[in-house]
Symmetry: C2
Subunit: 336 residues, 2 copies
């Protein structure tokens, strides 16, 4: 009964979200569709290819909702919403080269179609385009913050790269990397939307906290889906992180609950071959279910989303606030 009521409440909130953002999201998509049309190089095509795939646009949704907490979705909010998606896509284009990723959003990665070089320059292009757009709005603090955030993202990606294949890593390092590579951009999205909507300082801080918690939860679910997702829904193969030697939270928890997993993972990471042995894959899948690793990770994600909801309690009730709560509540349940 209780779970049923929770789902009803969630469905109502997501319907609210769709009603509220319908026009905004259309505006954002029209702007995104114009990006990279000023050239026909493989770099431009790489950028357009990725942007044209069916992304979740969760970061632009954050910008739009934060703006509605204030005076509403205006030109500045639209620009920031487009820019945050461009920054996100820029990092994906670079990450796919770094990770030699082949699939993205259910399609071939841009680097597979246009080559690594085009993917690097395509990412550079999107990054600069995003920064020019943000700069043109003329809100100094929003620009200053995004420059710091992108640097944080790069440093976190570099840290992740450095700790690749190091099985005995710590939970604190995992959360440090997640804050830098994912949560920081969600935090900025909320900040930028709030500033565009003229939200006052304390409420802006509350929205930023929401972004941080939501971002960490979002990444945690992403990392769970790498072990327990449906590749049809996620658009990428299972065990991608493990193949890349990334020790994510589900894996850290699995090692804690089955001590024999650690040496097996060390053997995997030490081997030249990045493919995961079927036996190791089956064993991990078993631990994930039997030792309740997936359940506990999703519970942690739910708690983080509860934190997100609590951090915006000071906000007066409004359709935008309800929609933000809906986004947070749906995050631990997301399948893609």
């Amino acid at each position: 009964m209780c779970a049923g009521r929770g789902l009803d409440a969630l469905a109502a909130r997501l319907a609210e979200l769709r009603r509220l953002l319908d026009g905004d999201l259309g505006d954002i998509e029209r702007e995104i569709a114009k990006v990279g049309l000023d050239g026909e190089t493989p770099a431009h095509r790489s950028a357009r290819h990725l942007l044209g795939l069916n992304g979740k646009r969760l970061r632009p949704i954050c910008v739009a909702l934060a703006s509605h907490i204030g005076s509403g979705f205006n030109d500045a909010a639209r620009t920031f919403a487009v820019a945050v998606e461009l920054v996100h896509n820029a990092t994906l284009l670079h990450d796919d080269v770094v990770d030699l990723g082949d699939r993205r959003r259910g399609a071939d990665a841009a680097r597979v179609i246009y080559g690594n070089a085009a993917s690097i320059f395509g990412g550079d292009y999107l990054l600069l385009d995003a920064l020019s757009k943000i700069q043109a709005v003329g809100m100094t603090d929003v620009l200053e913050r995004v420059l710091l955030v992108i640097k944080e993202m790069v440093v976190a990606e570099a840290l992740q790269l450095a700790s690749r294949g190091r099985v005995r890593t710590s939970t604190s390092e995992y959360f440090q990397i997640v804050d830098g590579k994912t949560a920081s951009l969600f935090r900025w999205a909320m900040f930028a939307g709030a500033r565009a909507g003229g939200v006052n300082e304390p409420l802006c801080k509350a929205l930023e906290s929401f972004g941080t918690s939501l971002g960490v939860a979002f990444q945690l679910v992403d990392d769970v889906l790498d072990f327990a997702g449906d590749p049809e829904a996620t658009g990428k193969a299972l065990l991608t992180d493990l193949r890349e030697g990334k020790m994510t939270y589900p894996l850290l928890l699995a090692m804690e609950r089955d001590r024999e997993l650690t040496p097996a993972l060390e053997a995997h990471c030490a081997s030249e071959d990045t493919a995961v042995e079927p036996e190791l894959g089956r064993r991990i899948a078993q631990i994930m279910v039997e030792k309740r690793v997936v359940d506990d990770c999703l519970e942690l994600a739910s708690r983080l989303c509860g934190d997100a909801v609590r951090s915006i309690e000071p906000l007066p009730e409004s359709p935008a606030k309800a929609a933000l709560e809906g986004v947070a509540m749906s995050t631990p349940r997301r399948k893609r």
Copy 2:
């Protein structure tokens, strides 16, 4: 006699340059030495490795001299001088991954030591660090311009990538790429230095023209050194551009003067093997000398540097102006 007097004049001007910029260059180097010290990832190390090698620092010199045309080298000028070097180094880190370059400034490329991924993130890091520094100065137009310039650089690199291996390319496309990938940053360096020094609008425009002409000449000499340079001095192997399928101006001129070269280059570019056949290499070297390709390219570079000098004629005489003339006059003669 005349050439002798030219050399004396040049020597005097370069002595002036050293006297004028001695303290400034020390300041710039001290700031550059602090970059990337906030982390120990391979990305940070890649960035520091490249910055620590013996670069020419020509772009920072442009910033410093332009500032001396105005009120002199101040904090803003120092920041812009450091930033322009960081942007330049960021592009080198990405280019070496794109071109699979092994040597840079007489040492192993960062990607050889730390890997491609570290070189990509190292470039991203330097780019963001440069932009944060520029933003902190608070001159909106200088930041706006650098964002546009870096986008121009990326688009030009992407164009160059797209035309790689296309032997029948045009001189106009070559100069379009050179303007985007090289001259635009020299132009910005002059603009930023001038703005830092409070130079008035017409003189600022004159300095920007200087930067454009100098930048094109600089790239042209670079492209000549790829055929006729001393690898000990340049720090990179001969025929690197040709191996990468880049049709630079010396090659375009060589094809014009020896029609049989075109099919030979087409065969080279069509082959899987990027190495240049010794026979082809010898033939190109012969054409470069006997058909006076190198001489004529360097003459064109001299004319461009003459344009640079002429564009700053409206400036009142000053040690900084004399030093800029010295930089321009020495560019066609540079060996590294």
